[in-house]
Subunit: 381 residues, 2 copies
Amino acid sequence: MQDIYIHGGAMTPFGRHTGVLAPELAQQAILQALDDAGLRPADIQAIYCANVLGGMILGQLIVRDLGFGGIPVYNVENACASGATGVHLARHALLAGQYDTVLVFGIEQLTALGGGTIPMQRNDHKTDLYAKAGMVLPAVYAMRGTRFLHERGASRADLAEVAVKNRHNGSLNPFAQQRTATTVEEVLASRMIADPLTLLQCCPSQVDGAAALVVGTKRPARHRPVKVLASVVVSGLREQADDDILDAEITARAARQAYEQAGLGPEDVDVVELHDAFTIAELLYYEALGLAPHGEAVGLLKSGATRLGGRVPVNPSGGLLAKGHPLGATGVAQMVEILWHLQERAGARQVANARVGLTQCTGGGIAGVDHAASSVHLLGV
Amino acid sequence: MQDIYIHGGAMTPFGRHTGVLAPELAQQAILQALDDAGLRPADIQAIYCANVLGGMILGQLIVRDLGFGGIPVYNVENACASGATGVHLARHALLAGQYDTVLVFGIEQLTALGGGTIPMQRNDHKTDLYAKAGMVLPAVYAMRGTRFLHERGASRADLAEVAVKNRHNGSLNPFAQQRTATTVEEVLASRMIADPLTLLQCCPSQVDGAAALVVGTKRPARHRPVKVLASVVVSGLREQADDDILDAEITARAARQAYEQAGLGPEDVDVVELHDAFTIAELLYYEALGLAPHGEAVGLLKSGATRLGGRVPVNPSGGLLAKGHPLGATGVAQMVEILWHLQERAGARQVANARVGLTQCTGGGIAGVDHAASSVHLLGV
């Protein structure tokens, strides 16, 4: 099959960009990604804009003054998996021979909307009553956390350890919104959001950010060539299995398909950026992604394998917990982070000798939005 | 190149569906399209949902109870070109060999939002001031209309003739929202919206509707096989050229690319569904699509060639003027209409012996949304 390469990538720092309009934020990431790829706008043949809440025909607005000419712009939305879906659709077109070089970017300015959970509650869906009754995302993950503590004999400190690990990584990452390392005690003492999840166990949703990738079929000359080894998007009724809220079924399915597509297994993965919107999510995804056997998530965490310097560092960027989660940008930024690790340009948080990286985003799947999308990508050198 | 076939199509009647939720409306079209194709949900490998204003992860919500399983759902937005963009992206994946049978549907429930132009004014774009100052779509097209009357020596009655033609066609179409034929006198006497455009020269925007197509690589057995001969999406700063608001440049560019892709010319087209959001638009698109030479739009209209029974009937469905314009649904519904004509099942409005049909949607491109998308498709037997 045709090789698909990542030619360059960039992201803005995630954080409160209140003096900047969303299009300008995206433009920064786009121009930097082009520069990183050593390409000009005229080299790009199509553009995929990933965004959740920004409104009509946003991609065209963002690129209109950047000199791209009249190439197609596709606006893509798939909740938290929007950015990854953009890359996935770009890959289809590249495999079909429609283009040889395309741009994918993700953008979200949640601070302009009052934060991430508020506009989601405004959706005119028939299931909206759940959200109005309080089933917003922290509540949904809190129920999983409670079940996890009960079933697995895990402690609140085990959950907090995820935040400690990722916030340590975030302290090394100039692109993260929250760059303060923390301790288990601080995490547990922070304000309760939805028991057992305290404030420092929830990703910031008052955050803006953009990320961009140039993807194509030509072997890049500028940096160490990184290929898209697998690209999977699936959907489902919700994030968890019907009979077990600890089984992140849709994510496990996406991961199985991705490993099969690449001819690799979890043991081949050297670095992971996964969707730790809440601490409990990271533990559930360890198992869904095959990084730990069923029931062994806490054991994997405690072994230190997923820390920087461990066997398979997870969320060296700080993850959503430290970086913040500007919805459309997140999936693209995860791949930019992996790109940097595979090319040995991840700075203080560099994972040594990484050859294969995995990204995962899973969106929707809550009671108030009772249907989900999940995406898993494998990148490799 | 791999042939891409349309296996089946359906649409709901366009109109006020106030007792029905948007997902239910879309489900009707989806299930009817599957039935038309003789396929079950399990035969579908991916789903493309075209929608402009419906909110997050809408496609997954709509299909969740229909038995599709966990296949990917891609939510696509490209203003008025959303539905056509859905078909375009589906074709990429089919050409890439990722799937052999996919579903594309479009849905919009504008009545739940107060009508089409209101939510558009809510976009948090920096150009929003234009819309707030009155540059909503009727005003933009009115300026083109005024310029057209001045430059072309056309009369108000010429503009009105477009409405008379399309509303006659709509009177034959059970799927149209407004099914009353009219006269030039009635059109000109109807309420002035934005001079020279009277009410009957504007498409209804208080309208709901859905349309669905099954598209794939296998040669269909059930109906006369219809192929996608060309599929083009382009973008640009605005709908018109910088120095001539009567030059629908972006649409002309999409059309040129489509004819080249199919190896056909305007003279090969037997039936057209084009984006007559306002009467003036149809005249401008005659020239942009190459149906008439520059300056000859009114001549083409007056010759009767674009009427039912003429050489190349345009908008046999009644067009947006009679059908209404539920944004995401429109582009898909245009292709369903052409499908029916090519398969001789268009009822009282059937275009005889049609072998090649063209659809065109162009969205954005107004002052308040100063960037545009245009899509042209050619379908043929």
